[in-house]
């Protein structure tokens, strides 16, 4: 039987279509109501409440915890002071990305990390091999995680606690909600103002109830994975097994990406001053020095006139709702040679908010300048058709409230 999350007693009855997705062996709702887009808009308009408990959760502690994380993680954990969180990645020796995740410095010398896939053995093997005195525990089932995302998320939480006042982007708060201890980080996967709550498993139902009750005046809306996946594309946040693959389980380097190729080069802006010997460093430095990145990850905005025109030529109304796609789509150079391969999009959708069709794409370096025009191959009534698209900077959507200090 699939497992259920600690919020299931509440999410179960709320799942109106009664369709479930299997996320890492757990039942999770792809959507709670028939109108996906209404769930999506809760994130931009009020607040969406999302159960992300299936994420794998690891605790790092012990004398060498900091030294260990300095070695394993590509970003310097020392910059993540107690009470802060850090978006980070871990790479292999060849400088390819294994995974990404958010790590929290929960209390002095104790760190919690979320990961999309199991990594306990991976982390422990490194610790054993390099003889770090670090304790690495899998705390996946000890906590449920809720993401409360959207412009009203703070106000809803403030109905229950005052400890979030002044908690900035990627900062933490230890607080109680309705008497239940939780750790809250100002983080999320939607690119909006939002918080993630680590709730001890026995408190999950009570905390869900407290939030739903506190949020009732703010249109708090249970939100499924589909709405999240729409929001994350607008936010330019990458998804494992859609936009990139773990270097651990790829077959060839053609399936792997470096941090620079995924748009995470900013993590290494101060590499020259960084004295660590972290895994992948030499390869990453060589890639920077040799400018050997094979591609970059960029945004694409599909040309509305061309999109409309190509569909009109085929005799149909240009689809907007329902074009969400997490499959690979080919991109061609605009040149005298027809169908000259350029790169590919990893996901594409119509953003109702941005009134545009947008995509995330991997393009060779010469095509990455914002404004560069390329052709995106779509299928219109069984025919492959190229539609003009322009390279755009990521994120597509980045409201000031996400990081504001209000």
């Amino acid at each position: 039987m699939p497992k259920t999350t600690p919020f299931h007693p509440r999410t179960g009855p709320l799942n109106h279509p009664q369709i479930w997705e299997n996320w890492a062996g757990y039942l999770v709702a792809p959507q709670y109501q028939h109108s996906e887009i209404s769930e999506y808009y809760s994130v931009r308009n009020s607040a969406g409440l999302l159960d992300t408990s299936p994420l794998f959760k690891y605790k790092f502690s012990g004398p060498d915890a900091e030294a260990y994380l300095m070695h394993v993680m590509a970003r310097d954990i020392r910059k993540c002071k107690p009470g802060r969180a850090q978006y980070t990645i871990w790479c292999d020796d060849a400088g390819f990305v294994v995974e990404d995740g958010v790590i929290m410095h929960v209390s002095v010398g104790e760190y919690w990390l979320t990961a999309a896939e199991p990594n306990l053995r991976y982390f422990r093997q490194i610790a054993r091999k390099k003889e770090f005195d670090v304790q690495i525990d899998d705390i996946t089932t000890d906590y449920g995680i809720l993401a409360l995302q959207g412009p009203k998320s703070l106000e809803i939480l403030q109905e229950l606690t005052s400890d979030l006042n002044g908690v900035g982007f990627f900062r933490l708060a230890h607080t109680k909600l309705d008497g239940h201890s939780v750790v809250i980080s100002r983080t999320g996967y939607t690119g909006d103002l939002g918080y993630e709550l680590w709730v001890p498993k026995d408190s999950c139902v009570a905390v869900w109830d407290a939030l739903m009750s506190a949020g009732s005046g703010y249109n708090i809306t249970p939100m499924g994975l589909h709405a999240l996946k729409m929001a994350r594309i607008e936010a330019g946040l990458l998804l494992l097994d859609v936009d990139f693959h773990s270097a651990r389980y790829a077959w060839t380097d053609a399936q792997r990406d470096t941090p620079h190729e995924l748009g995470w080069g900013w993590m290494f802006n101060t590499l020259a001053k960084d004295d660590r010997t972290f895994i992948g460093r030499e390869a990453i430095e060589a890639e920077i020095a040799n400018k050997s990145s094979r591609h970059k990850t960029v945004g694409l905005v599909i040309d509305w006139y061309d999109y409309q025109e190509k569909h009109r030529e085929a005799g149909i109304h240009p689809p907007m709702d329902g074009v969400f796609n997490e499959g690979t789509m080919n991109i061609y150079r605009i040149s005298d040679t027809p169908w000259e391969y350029g790169g590919y999009a990893t996901c594409m959708m119509y953003s109702s908010l941005l009134r545009s069709h947008i995509a995330l794409a991997k393009l060779p370096l010469d095509l990455c300048e914002p404004g560069t025009e390329v052709d995106l191959e779509v299928s219109i009534i069984r025919r492959s058709v190229n539609i003009k698209a322009r390279v755009a900077e990521l994120p597509f959507f980045n409201p000031a409230r996400k990081t504001s200090r209000e």
Binding site: A24, L120, R121, R124, R248, W251
Partner: protein
Amino acid sequence: MTKYDAIVIGGGHNGLVNAGYLAKAGLNTLILERRPYVGGAAVTEELLPGYKFTTFSYALSLIRPDICQELNLPEHGMMTLPMPHHFHPAEDGQYLKLGADSYENYHEISKLSLEDAEAMHDFGHIMDRVCHALKPLVDMIPPNPQSQEPEELERMAEFHAIMEGMPPDVQDMVQKLWTSSIAEVLDEYFENDLVKGMLASSAIIGSMCGPRSKESGMVWLFHKMGEYDGIFGEWGFHKGGNGGFTQALARAFEAFGGTILCDAGVDEVLRKDGAAVGVKLSNGEEIYADIVVSALDPRNTFLRLVDPAELPDDLVKTIQDFKFQGSAAKVNFVLSDVPKHPNHEYSSEIFRGFLNVGPTFDYLEEAFADAQEGRFSRRPFIDGCIQSTIDPDMTPPGKHIMSNFVMWAPYHLKDSDWDTERDNLGDAVQETLNSFFPGFNDLVEHREVVTPLDIERIVGIAEGNIFHGELFADQLFFSRPAPGWNQYRTPIKGYYQCGSGTHPGGCVIGAPGKLASMQILRDRAKAAV
């Protein structure tokens, strides 16, 4: 005088495949089968009315996908049913049930070890890459390193390109499996004994080696090269049992114009001037063909069907020393119901794949120790399955038939003989099953015990070795069945070999039959020029 273009001796699956390709190429081909029906060890026998026994071979994995396509087998009734999961009970009532979903498996294994749950993915990934890298070797006629012919040098170069083209970690793993025990390999990845026990079983199937014997890595790898719909190491049931598969092969062969003659044992391959000219049947009848193919094991092929005195001494010596030492038995039951596991609610689910009785290395080694002492394992390894839980054609509704593959049952018993021990082995298997599934004894309505001696007597394979000779590293590829004779030819012109004793080896795989047909047809084309 009857004359064919080609005669294939033995209607086992490799004989059928070989003959199928020859017939497809336009050769007037005859299959001679000693028994009343073809199939060899892959037969389904209705030993009791309404009950279909997979007397010997009972599942499919290694069968080459190209053979199924090229011989149009689906058109002739080939249908392989998937196994949704496999069940591995421990002696204390715990169990592992692993199946098609990797996260389900993750959570199942994490009941025992979180690190092992993750290791399964790591190990699965490296093994997928190993199998992928080695697959071309399974599907090629191996080079003959003793030959300087340009064609052979080319093959040798191809072999080296495959071996040296592998990524370093894949190369290391291949090297390790080639030379070490499966225990050494699994110990590097896993910590839990039950997990390791479940993974180890493929390393001992049909082989006189335990999980800690150095030969077991190679035996394990050989089995992992099989696939079900592209998933390495997975198995399926042929609809109606493995006899259903060989029946499909027979129909395909006949559709290509081939002829099958049953109850036609062959006593001798007829030779004239160093070349095969036909065969002499047990009844004295002679049938002629310029191409004669033996689908039998190497001992029968080289030492019985022809006069070894006419063969090179070193070849004869190698075949005499070829390790057969059959060590597997079958104990098949008719059951009034599906056995119940004390801690698993849905019992019929358990048996839709393999039931793997052999919880740990220690259990397996203890069973193997008996065999090394020249007796059958008193508490044996059992690979059980109840095909009737998914295939209603196997039994009358509500009844079940259970196939149990049993290790170890050494062909050479030290202080007894198999006619004496047959029922004692049956009892040991039944008692073992009863200990894992209390109440099992009460379900038994009928029992068939098949010892290695029975396999030799009924199917004809030397010493009852299900692979026509051990799958040990020194009996594979360049040396299967003998150095210099690893390319399906024999020293006698026109006389070929295509049984499991040739490359790549045993299991219902078909590759020996197909590769031999390629060699035969090439030789024939060259001779015609």
